[in-house]
Amino acid sequence: MFRSVLGKTLGFVGYTVQYGCIAHCAFEYIGEFVVCSGPSMEPTIVNHDIVFSERMSRQLCKIQKGDIIIAKSPFDPNMNVCKRVIGLEGDKVCTSSPSDLFKAHTYVPKGHVWLEGDNLRNSSDSRSYGPIPYALIRGRVCLKLWPLHCFGSLSESPTRRIIKARSDSD
């Protein structure tokens, strides 16, 4: 009687550990569901949207300019930010706002990315805290899941802040 209870408990614990590990591998290496909050990515992603962010691009270091990414906040590792990549390492980015008279540019240092939200007026991003290390990126947002009438992939950047490199054939 006692042995059968022990056997069943061990079996239960074993299955829990196994499925927990499979779940961990799925969330770490395949993708995860994210609930977004805040106005910094409007109109592409609004408050309370649910998106799916895939991890494979980050693991293989294949994030590109114009991708929307989820990253750990540089000032609080327990918080995540959702922004668009405006420049990768070596790219030229514009640091002045569109209303400034004189345009200022800077180059993104090695191993870093420049992030900006789509809602430039209400977003705290690399324009205030500078470029962030590439390794803080967690995943690339590829699908919007909720609300259902907006289901599908996400649109391109509406802000036209991405500077295309002049020599694209290298």
Partner: protein, 175 residues
């Protein structure tokens, strides 16, 4: 008969594979990791002879799951210069500390929120916060707790600040 045994073996292998791989990967991600230390930036604590015989350390990932570190810990972080590389350095200052730097662009630095200041024990031969500034705590990978190879160097890595390398006490402000 042989075909049945072969099929049974394949089924056992596949089901064992689906247990072993996720459990191992989860253990390496969440519990502990083993890494070889290369380079001379942490001499004399790690790799004291340099050359061919590199130390192998045990990185405790469970103790940094809430990003809690102490001054003097030897930690591994993802390099801010190269996202595919991990570097092992010592924590000299935490957020809010004032640090007197060795070769950084500013002589004194206040470590911003959510960052820490790392230095290798071998100053001058180390790519650390003195070159790229404070490092975000989100890049923390693990805490090096023990040296496990070579066997004559089995030891616990102690958390201790090197002499004269610590946060500055602001005595004038406590008046």
């Amino acid at each position: 008969m042989a075909q049945q045994a072969g099929r049974r073996y394949m089924r056992a292998f596949v089901s064992g594979f689906f247990v072993a791989v996720p459990v191992t990967v989860t253990a390496l991600d969440r519990l502990a990791y083993v890494a070889r230390v290369e380079g001379a930036s942490m001499q004399p604590s790690l790799n004291p002879e340099g050359g061919s015989d590199c130390d192998v350390v045990l990185l405790n990932r469970w103790s940094v799951r809430n990003y809690e570190v102490q001054r003097g810990d030897v930690v591994s972080v993802m390099s801010p210069k190269n996202p595919q590389q991990k570097i092992i350095k010592r924590v000299i200052g935490l957020e809010g500390d004032f640090i007197r730097t060795l070769g950084y662009k500013n002589r004194f630095v206040r470590v911003p929120d959510g960052h820490f200041w790392l230095e290798g024990d071998h100053h001058g031969h180390s790519l650390d916060s003195n070159s790229f500034g404070p490092v975000s705590v989100g890049l923390l990978h693990g805490r090096a707790s023990h040296i496990i190879w070579p066997p004559n160097r089995w030891q616990r890595i102690a958390a201790s600040l090197p002499p004269n390398r610590g946060p500055l006490d602001d005595e004038e402000e406590e008046g």
